[in-house]
């Protein structure tokens, strides 16, 4: 069954690793709110690693999932309905390989029932739509052409402020006369405003709770309360850290260095890579057995999910500026977890960023995974152990059979630059150095 499904999925590609946008099964290109999509079979070849924890920890009957992932503008449910509507036949053919799928039943209902909410969703720039990305790229090309023909045959002396302003105005005029026409940005959905308000209220409530003893009690009593609370927090932290350290030093999967992946596995991954400036990444693994790893990960993933849109609303996740979308998903009652992302550049560069720029983040979010390199206090070592980490993550990477990107050839840096170019057209008053900077980007 699995082999047949893989064969079917491969018919959706125009070359290995790149989906044909108008393939007859699911013509991704027809869905204009869809940024990225993939079909990937979650077949975990690393389940055997669990055996070091004893027979109780083993998971021989772990299901093999077919995952259908999409990153889209607006509510996911709307797109799902659209898929059921316009790609129903193809999806039925694909899902026919799934246990319990009724090819004559209600497809949308079935998809909704099987949709899994990620524990963490990361979006590089919240609110940036596919349409905006495409239109701004078109705009950039048009402006580059205007600029080239404007400059052709004109001698523009250096440091000529007047000329720079003139070029700026000429480009604005050309844009107004010839286009391209841009769709005005859609208003931020009401839900987002409400959520933002809730965040602010929650933060205010937290501040209030912290300040409460000072407000209602005498100075001495307040101090006492703070000491007591600090003591309790300290005690809880000490218990947590003791537990953590014991696990970090004694977990049976840490007793030998991680195994490198096999050649065949790397070949399967490599074939699918580097057909565009962006690549896909899907990884699957098990958590260490017991409640401690699961609870630790649950809390950390929850915090990450709450904090990332606030700390990193647009452009970067920590120091990483190459991730378009990413998601962390619990599977099988938190026995296993999946990570999927779309990133610019090659795998070696992605790993370089992981190891050199955000190793602490990798340790926090994946440190409880079976075979993850030994961490120290869940922040240090781990992903800093370069080759151990690379071996681990490659062993857990799955070949993503079908992968679609709505804007081939564009990186996040391109997309952000195009937005700045549009913004420069919409601003009549820019300083001279801003105009200079703006012109240099066209």
């Amino acid at each position: 069954m699995e082999a047949d499904l893989r064969k079917l999925l491969l018919t959706m590609n125009h070359c290995p690793g790149a989906a044909n946008p108008s393939n007859p099964l699911v013509p991704f290109g027809a869905f204009d709110t869809l940024h990225f999509a993939r079909f990937v079979i979650l077949d975990d070849a690393t389940l055997g690693d669990l055996s070091v924890f004893g027979p109780d920890a083993e998971f021989p009957d772990a299901p093999i999932y077919l995952a259908f992932l999409g990153d889209c503008d607006g509510p996911a449910d709307l797109l799902l309905a659209d898929f059921a509507d316009r790609a129903g036949d193809g999806l039925r053919k694909i899902f026919a390989y799934c246990v319990g799928f009724d090819p004559h039943g209600d497809l949308l209902h079935w998809m909704r029932r099987h949709s899994v909410k990620p524990a963490v969703s990361y979006v590089n720039c919240i609110g940036r739509t596919v349409r905006q990305i495409r239109e701004e790229e078109e705009l950039h090309e048009a402006l580059a052409n205007y600029l080239a023909s404007y400059l052709a045959g004109r001698q523009v002396p250096d440091q000529a402020k007047v000329e720079r302003r003139e070029i700026h105005s000429a480009l604005i005029r050309a844009f107004g006369e010839i286009g391209p026409r841009l769709t005005p940005p859609a208003p931020t959905p009401l839900g987002w405003h409400i959520r933002r308000l809730l965040y602010i209220l929650a933060a205010a409530a937290a501040v209030l709770v912290v300040a409460l003893p000072v407000l209602v009690l005498s100075a001495g009593a307040a101090l006492l309360v703070y000491c007591a609370v600090l003591f309790m927090i300290g005690a809880a932290a000490a218990v947590f850290l003791l537990h953590l350290r014991r696990q970090e030093t004694t977990a049976p999967d840490l007793q030998s260095p991680p195994k490198p992946p096999s050649d065949d596995h790397l070949l399967a991954l490599g074939t699918l890579q580097d057909h565009d400036v962006t690549n896909q990444y899907t990884a699957l693994g098990s958590f260490r057995p017991g409640s401690f790893p699961r609870w630790t990960t649950t809390v950390i993933w929850w915090l990450v999910n709450v904090a990332t849109p606030i700390l990193y609303p647009c452009g970067n996740l920590g120091r990483i500026k190459t991730i378009h979308f990413a998601r962390w998903v619990f599977l099988d009652g938190k026995r296993r977890g999946m990570f999927a992302s779309n990133y610019d550049g090659s795998a070696e560069g992605y790993m370089d960023d992981f190891v050199n720029k955000v190793s602490f983040g990798l340790n926090l979010t994946f440190g409880q995974g079976v075979g993850f390199p030994r961490t120290r206090f869940l922040l240090f070592e781990g992903a800093e152990l370069e080759q151990d980490f690379k071996n681990t993550q490659r062993r857990h990477t799955l070949p993503t059979e079908v992968w679609y990107k709505a804007y081939p050839g564009l990186t996040l840096v391109d997309i952000a630059r195009n937005t700045r170019i549009r913004q420069g057209l919409e601003r009549e008053t820019m300083t001279d150095s801003e105009i200079r900077q703006w012109l240099s980007e066209i």
């Binding site: 050649d263 700390l311 070696e348 800093e384 081939p408």
Partner: protein
């Protein structure tokens, strides 16, 4: 505490020297035809106990203290090492004590290149391994590389002698010649005319520096020995994965114990990997193109912008302001040529972002902005403080350095036999080539690859990569369009450069 390098008599000399005084060089590509006879020759050149004697031997780093009139170095491909009957486990996948995958499969990757190594290296189109004169296909892949160097006039006799000695065990299926330096011997120039070999990393032989400390928040040129020599700590303070043996596989105790795993014998210690690429240069095409696009000065300024250095002197286009970069100087010429980083040129007005030397070593540090301010450092580490559109796009260069030992050739065609040394081919040579040289999106640029090395093929589909942009003070970039391919890959391979001990082990 990191280990200093002391066993110079065990390290092939090319690690320390490009044999600059030996003007002549030839590189022999060998096919082993009789394993036992090949082994006797190896035993003799490695001066293994009981071996026959020859009037020459492998030059090691300790020899460099005295005057050498000639030098010989030897390295092997994975098929070559298999022929020498090394244990099978060294070529097996899924184990940490074997040769790494890149080396086992070679520069052209697996047959038909399904894995895409060529795609990542830019070896497609005219550069594709199927067009190579050597390397790539199994039938064209050598088993070993013998590198011969001699003083002017001395190479021919030396080469004949070595080839005669090799003949019983090896077939020389290609002898790659090189051209002696054309002008004064101190400055080696590549065929386009630029001074070559500037800007090498400085190996921290004494292990004075601890990598990963605050000092690495600034760019440094002093690099841990383990980045180039296997069996020493690398820039992560770790030992690079490498072939190790069980003591039972080395019954005569030829090899030394692995410093990080004393129960095993270190086959790789004091050795490294050589990346060898024959790069043919279209010298007339290059100068025609730059002259056409920059007629006022015979193309010199455009050529210099593409390279990032002055044609006459090799000095950088950036004004040298930093005399205190670790691992640069005290030699005045070194400071003049390398005492700079690109922090001084954030807009690329002095040296274009796409210039060859700004791509091949961006001189980036671990954290842009350096050490200044504890709070700022924390914010930058967490990605909460951005310093403009180009901030923090480039990896820290200390993890991606190579030592270059290439020589030019000049015959029916001209070019450079690019040779570089590194300990981790994937993280060093391949990363530099993929993420920095051929990447059309490097450092926020678009539509351009390395102005010298780019293959000019669109990627992906209709996204062209054949332009070169020069930032201008006025504002709009000057974009030179339609760059033809100036450099074509004609052959190449990954070789293992063994220590003298390992060579004796191979010869047993």
């Amino acid at each position: 505490m990191a280990q200093p390098v002391s066993e110079h008599q065990d390290i092939q000399a090319i690690m320390r020297s490009g044999f600059g005084r030996l003007d002549e060089a030839a590189f022999l590509l060998l096919r082993i035809t009789d394993v036992d006879r090949a082994k006797s020759w190896l035993a003799a050149i490695a001066e293994a106990p009981g071996a026959g004697r020859l009037p020459y031997r492998v030059t090691h780093a300790a020899d460099l203290g005295s005057h050498q009139t000639r030098a010989l170095q030897v390295a092997f491909t994975a098929p070559g090492l298999k022929k020498l009957r090394l244990p099978d486990m060294l070529f097996r996948d899924g184990t940490t004590h074997a040769f790494p995958r890149e080396f086992r499969f070679g520069m052209a990757g697996e047959g038909l290149d399904p894995e895409g190594r060529s795609r990542r290296l830019g070896d497609v189109g005219a550069n594709a391994p199927s067009n190579w004169e050597w390397g790539g296909a199994e039938a064209k892949t050598p088993d070993a590389l013998v590198m011969l160097y001699a003083e002017a006039g001395g190479l021919s006799d030396f080469q004949q002698m070595v080839m005669a000695d090799l003949a019983p065990g090896c077939d020389v299926f290609r002898a790659l010649d090189t051209a002696p330096p054309s002008d004064n011997a101190k400055q080696r120039r590549e065929p386009f005319g630029f001074v070559d070999g500037i800007g090498q990393p400085e190996i921290d032989w004494q292990a004075n520096r601890t990598p990963g400390t605050l000092g690495d928040l600034e760019y440094g040129n002093l690099i841990a020995p383990g980045e180039f020599l296997l069996g020493y700590e690398n820039e992560y303070g770790l030992y690079t994965e490498r072939p190790l043996l069980d003591p039972g596989q080395d019954p005569s105790n030829i090899l030394s114990p692995a410093p990080d795993d004393p129960g095993r014998r270190d086959l790789a210690r004091n050795g490294c990997y050589i990346v060898f690429r024959d790069l043919e240069q279209d010298v007339a095409g290059f100068w025609d193109f730059v002259r056409r696009n920059s007629p006022d000065d015979e193309g010199v300024s455009l050529a210099e912008a593409m390279v990032g250095r002055r044609l006459a002197t090799g000095d950088p286009l950036i004004t040298v302001t930093q005399a205190d970069i670790r691992g640069i100087g005290p030699d005045a010429e070194d400071i003049r040529q390398n005492g700079f980083t690109y922090e001084a040129d954030p807009e690329g007005l002095s040296c274009p972002f796409g210039a060859h030397i700004r791509r091949s070593n961006p001189r980036s540090a671990d954290l842009p902005g350096g050490r200044q301010g504890l709070v700022s450092r924390l914010l930058r580490t967490l990605g909460l403080q951005q310093r403009g559109a180009r901030d923090d796009l480039i990896s820290s260069s200390r993890f991606h350095r190579v030592i270059r030992r290439g020589r030019r050739y000049d015959g029916v065609s001209r070019g450079i036999r690019f040779i570089c040394l590194n300990a981790n081919i994937a993280r060093q040579f391949e990363f530099i080539q993929n993420a920095w040289i051929v990447n059309a999106k490097f450092n926020a640029m678009d539509h351009e690859a390395d102005p010298l090395l780019g293959n000019r093929l669109p990627f992906p589909a209709d996204h062209f990569t054949d332009s070169f942009s020069l930032p201008q003070a006025i504002g709009p970039n000057r974009r030179v369009a339609g760059l033809p391919q100036f450099v074509t890959v004609r052959g190449g391979g990954y070789f293992f450069l063994p220590s003298l001990r390992a060579l004796r082990f191979f010869a047993r």
